[in-house]
Subunit: 114 residues, 2 copies
């Protein structure tokens, strides 16, 4: 029979092709400075579009465009409160991934080779 559900057949860090594409798509969205800053803002809690635009020095229109992409990729999710719409990080998974990256960059002491 063809090895059912192989758990540890490859190197500790392997990735199926579809997972690679999925992960690349997430990286791509975070690869734009404006978008990355928007996502990081949501880590502190739900933020309105206007608040983010003001705080980041971007036009509300631009922030909305970026939020649409982040929404479609399920990186953030909207929540209406009166006239405003607050965006939060979509789930704990995304939160952990981003937070880890930020932590890594912040501690950024240059270690030697791997």
């Amino acid at each position: 029979m063809p090895s059912p559900i192989p758990l540890h057949t490859e190197t500790p860090t392997a990735l199926s092709d579809d997972k690679a594409i999925e992960l690349a798509e997430m990286f791509r969205l975070l690869g734009d400075p404006s978008r990355l800053r928007i996502v990081i803002e949501t880590l502190a809690g739900p933020q309105s579009v206007g608040h983010m635009a003001a705080k980041l020095g971007l036009s509300p229109s631009l922030v909305s465009h970026h939020l649409r992409l982040l929404r479609a990729a399920r990186l953030v999710s909207p929540e209406r409160r009166g006239k405003q719409i607050f965006y939060r990080i979509h789930d704990a998974h995304v939160r952990h991934v981003i937070a880890d990256m930020v932590a890594h960059v912040n501690e950024d002491v240059h270690e030697e080779d791997a």
Copy 2:
């Protein structure tokens, strides 16, 4: 005195603007499927350009182009062995960041809200 070396002044996940740009640049490079797969290959140990090209189904030329960008960003580093050139992940920092992301995507059980 103006609070020296503030450690926990902001939210647990804040980021200076230059760090945000630096991080975004790293995300951007990993945001291309071909490039991401190349980097992931190097996690298993030093790999020659030709080997990667064959394994990933990409032209050696394309792999070389991508490696140039990854090299410039210090994500990978080259090492000559005879005619071939082997690329490895540049340092432990990069290795951890990528490995964490792969791990997160692999365990990918959809949790609820953050």
